[in-house]
């Protein structure tokens, strides 16, 4: 559950994810998408899913009600990681896989910054896998957007840690024999407090997830299915096709039974004796142990089980927020210790305090 600060004087409650960040003045003119658009020419291939995500983010940022100078995007390397150049905020395009560490340093030392990480499936899960899991475990207050196109785009089409077994790419002409990660399962296993999945082409869903992720205090991981028309076109076609998607996408709605399928062929997820989850015709679910989605469940087991509904055939693809729980964040904890040490000592260190440190406990004087 995302917590919000108590409402004061009728001013709208403030999402905890944004606590500590200065807000736009109440009488400031409404921000526009244009203000968040930099003057740099966007250089993704025509038809790249990254365009839609960029447009959604640029369209969403004004909603935050933050000043542009209090927003920073940090990225790694990859097509997706060019993202910060196209936003008129602070930004850093760093090195392959390491953005979470840089974001951790920035977010911890600057509580007044709204820090985002943009990364790809290779960047986050291959070279940067270690930093990703540790950011999630620490629960630093950052929002990670993982653009998953199941391919290495920038290096021109090698398989990635999310590519499917058998996938033919430039580096797997005989088909890949590597087993892929499921990024959501991985994140849940790494103690993530907020995990969601959305897709580049569903602007409304994407925006809703961005909102929830930004409002969450702690590390939010958002997996965004992104089409790479050049090297892995149609990877997510089955859930983009209007008729196919209805049968396949499992919309996760907090507090509701987990269901899939069109009205006339609706299926409900139930827990079978022994614990296995299974979709059964909605009508026959009565009296069975129906799975009700609970994003705030302390125990991540059910969220994990939902993430395992995925299969390479995309028979069922859960979309939405898998998990959103409140847990102390690393950066708040680190700052609290420093602040407590400073205030216990009576305020910021003076010259005398420094002199005392330098002298240590054991001095002698030579006249």
């Amino acid at each position: 559950m995302t917590t919000t600060q108590p409402t004061t004087n009728g001013v709208a409650a403030r999402p905890s994810g944004l606590a500590g960040i200065p807000l736009l003045a109440p009488d400031a003119p409404k921000q526009t998408k244009r203000e968040f658009t930099s003057d740099q020419e966007v250089r993704w291939c025509p038809g790249c899913g990254d365009y839609a995500i960029l447009a959604a983010v640029q369209g969403f940022l004004p909603e935050l009600g933050l000043k542009r100078e209090n927003i920073t995007f940090v990225s790694g390397i990859g097509c997706s990681s060019r993202f910060p150049y196209y936003l008129d905020t602070y930004g850093m395009h760093s090195i392959h896989g390491r953005a979470p560490s840089i974001a951790t340093g920035l977010a911890t030392s600057r509580p007044d910054q709204n820090v985002w990480v943009v990364t790809g499936d290779g960047d986050a899960l291959s070279i940067g896998g270690n930093h990703l899991i540790h950011a999630l475990r620490r629960n630093v207050n950052i929002t990670i957007l993982l653009f998953n196109n199941e391919i290495y785009g920038l290096t021109k089409g090698q398989y990635s840690p999310t590519s499917r077994v058998g996938q033919v790419t430039k580096s797997t002409p005989f088909g890949s024999v590597d087993r892929p990660f499921n990024p959501v399962s991985l994140a849940l296993g790494a103690e993530a407090t907020f995990v969601a999945r959305t897709t580049d082409t569903d602007r409304k869903h994407l925006t809703g997830i961005l909102r929830a992720a930004a409002e969450h205090r702690g590390t939010s991981l958002v997996e965004i299915y992104q089409n790479c028309p050049i090297f892995n076109d149609g990877a997510f076609e089955l859930i983009k096709d209007r008729t196919e998607q209805e049968a396949r996408i499992v919309h996760l709605i907090d507090g509701e039974p987990v269901q899939v399928g069109p009205e006339d062929d609706r299926k409900t997820l139930v827990r079978m004796p022994g614990g296995r989850l299974k979709f059964v015709p909605a009508a026959s679910a009565q009296g069975m142990d129906v799975v009700v989605h609970d994003t705030g469940a302390e125990d991540a087991s059910q969220a994990f089980a939902l993430s395992r509904l995925d299969s390479p055939e995309m028979t069922h693809v859960p979309m939405g927020i898998f998990r959103s729980v409140s847990r102390p964040t690393y950066d708040d904890g680190v700052r609290a210790q420093v602040e407590a040490a400073v205030s216990t000592a009576g305020g910021p260190a003076t010259d005398d305090d420094l002199a005392e440190l330098l002298r240590g406990r054991d001095t002698w004087t030579v006249a």
């Binding site: 910060p84 390491r98 951790t104 910054q113 440190l357 001095t363």
Partner: protein, 622 residues
């Protein structure tokens, strides 16, 4: 009053050696503190195994602590101990080769059982087989006397009583060299305050050791070493790692900026992480990262946000950080990389010293990627070097390497504590407003518009309205910082980055010491070889020869006068604890045929050996 004689000495080198579990480091530390309080100048060298608990009584498990103190200026921990305290056969065996004939050896005979002797390959007991004839041997049943002295402590097991034997040894040595034990008593009270019986036992063992020296006939006299003449001031004893940590804190204080350390534990650098972690009161944030790369990433992220970002590591960690250092070069953000060098390659000799990484610091990155390098010369000088590293990093918006090493890190010496009011002001100005106009005539911010004097770019931190900008590791257009693949621009930016580092100001000329003014041979060093070189040069001069010496704090860029200095001698000898890394740089830069003298034994140079080397060179040039 003792009836024993008191002899005056001008200098003494003592080595405490025992099993890792015998508490030799603590004993050495305490003796050092007592000696510092006596006003002697001193230098210390701890030497411990890489294994945390190597098998008891074995050669790899030997831990030692050497201390050199004198009534005059001390430059090294000493080549050869005058006194060896050997707590077991392994300690004797491991150290005997370093002990000159005529030296004193105090042996804990209780530990010289057949089994213990056999463990380290002694077939006869050296205490009574005559093999130690040329030494003054004091056989002392240290363990059993300690246990006897603690007979009244009924609540303590025999093991616990035995553990106090290092305090007995300390008491004995304190008597021998007339050191006051009040400091140690206060220290023990603090350490064991919560365990009154253990405290009392340690104090009793300490006194028993003292009394043993005073009453036993085996020890005929005690010794006095007069205080050294040192410049007036308030002194403390300090190790290199602590001095370095304090230098960083002081620099951040003088810059009025928070200090943020991102680090991953590694010997011999970890103590800096430990020290800084306890200094939150000084607005120091420390984050122990998942690996070295994340450690420097955290530091760089904090620097981007306007803090002084620091990462601390040793050689293997630097290897992992290289790509991020390159990013910092490209982003032109301040960053301090502390490398406490150790023997390499790979894991190498984790607890032993080596000047292993000069070339790694200089060149260990892809592309033209210049990074300034500073190196401290003594343990306390780590304070100044850290301060200088921060100054260069913040003034020039660049990563800076600070090359300490294991010898400096763990060694200690007295330090005249500086007055805070004498520390330079390191305040920097963040960019606060647009600095250019675009084609439409609108005010804009150019993140790569340089200061004409320093060539530094503006430090514009997130949170500053109107200066929103993007930086990255892709080549940036001069001035605007936008992505640029233009050939001429890359050539220009590469040269600008190089010129910025080459032009770092405030680097003093290298000072040559040549008392007679007649020297034709120059001995040039850098980093921790300062003490051994200075001591060797002093010995050579005392023998009536002319030799000049100079020492480098800045390895990149070099002091402006260095080339001229090198060319003005018939011969330049460069001693280094590597296979000639500085020599290579000097030859490349100045085309001077400097003569390397190298050693990679994990130990500092011995003064005597180095003096011999200098004499040989002197003969050749005369």
């Amino acid at each position: 009053m003792s009836s024993k004689t008191v002899q005056k000495l001008d200098r003494v080198v003592i080595r405490f050696a025992g099993d890792s579990g015998d508490g030799m480091q603590l004993t050495g530390d305490r003796f050092t503190s007592e000696t510092a309080a006596m006003g002697n100048d001193l230098s210390t060298l701890p030497n411990f195994p890489a294994e945390i608990r190597a098998p008891q009584g074995t050669l790899p498990g030997v831990s030692s602590f050497q201390l050199h103190f004198a009534d005059h200026e001390v430059l090294t921990p000493g080549d050869a101990p005058d006194v060896l305290v050997a707590m077991n056969p392994a300690a004797l065996r491991a150290n005997l080769a370093d002990i000159p004939r005529g030296a004193t050896i105090i042996i804990n005979t209780d530990e010289f059982s057949k089994r213990a002797l056999a463990k380290v390959g002694y077939t006869e007991n050296p205490v009574d087989d005559g093999s130690l004839e040329s030494f003054h041997v004091h056989p002392v049943p240290l363990t059993s006397i300690t246990v006897d002295a603690l007979a009244a402590f009924e609540g303590l097991s025999r093991k616990e009583k035995e553990r106090a034997k290092n305090m007995f040894a300390l008491g004995l040595l304190s008597w021998m060299y007339t050191r006051p034990t009040t400091g140690t008593e206060a220290f023990l009270t603090k350490k064991f305050g919560a365990h009154p019986e253990i405290l009392e036992a340690n104090l009793t063992a300490l006194r028993a050791g003292w009394n043993y020296g005073e009453t036993t006939e085996d020890f005929a006299s005690s010794y006095e070493i007069a205080p050294a003449v040192m410049p007036a001031g308030t002194y403390r004893n300090i190790t290199g790692n602590i001095a370095l940590a304090h230098g960083l804190v002081a620099a951040a204080h003088q810059a009025r900026l928070p200090l943020v350390l991102g680090s991953y534990p590694i010997t011999p650098a970890s103590d800096i992480l430990h020290t800084l972690s306890a200094l939150k009161r000084h607005n120091v944030t420390t984050m122990q990262a998942e690996d070295e790369i994340a450690g420097i990433g955290i530091a760089l992220g904090a620097s981007f946000g306007g803090a002084i970002g620091v990462t601390t590591t040793s050689g293997p960690g630097v290897a992992l950080k290289s790509e991020m250092i390159g990013l910092a070069v490209s982003l032109e953000l301040p960053l301090v990389i502390v490398d406490v060098q150790r023997g390499g390659p790979s894991t190498g000799l984790p607890t032993k010293t080596e000047q292993s990484d000069l070339l790694q610091a200089m060149f260990g990155r892809n592309g033209e990627s210049p990074v300034p390098i500073v190196a401290p010369s003594t343990p306390s000088d780590c304070f100044n070097a850290a301060f200088e590293a921060v100054r260069i990093a913040t003034t020039y918006r660049t990563p800076v390497f600070l090359l300490s090493d294991g010898y400096l890190a763990n060694g200690s010496e007295p330090w005249a504590v500086p007055e805070v009011s004498d520390l330079p002001d390191l305040r920097v100005e963040f960019a606060s407003e647009p600095n250019g106009v675009d084609d439409k005539g609108e005010q804009v911010f150019h993140p790569f518009l340089r200061d004409p004097e320093t060539l530094a770019r503006p430090w514009a931190v997130p949170g500053t309205a109107g200066l929103e900008h993007r930086i990255g590791g892709i080549e940036k257009a001069d001035i605007t910082g936008n992505i640029s693949y233009d050939p001429d621009n890359h050539d220009k930016m590469t040269r600008l980055r190089a010129a910025k580092v080459a032009g770092i100001a405030g680097i003093p000329d290298v000072v040559v010491e040549d008392p007679s003014g007649d020297a034709r041979l120059l001995v040039l060093g850098w980093g921790s070889t300062f003490g051994p070189i200075a001591a060797a040069v002093r010995a050579v001069r005392n023998a009536g020869h002319h030799v000049a010496s100079a020492h480098l704090r800045h390895l990149n860029p070099f002091p402006a006068n260095l080339g001229e200095v090198l060319r003005s001698y018939d011969r330049v000898v460069v001693p280094e604890m590597n296979l000639g890394q500085l020599s290579m740089l000097l030859r490349a830069e100045f085309l001077v045929d400097v003569r390397p003298h190298t050693s990679v034994r994990g130990l500092p140079f011995s003064t005597v050996d180095l003096a011999d080397v200098i004499l040989t060179h002197l003969e050749e040039v005369s």
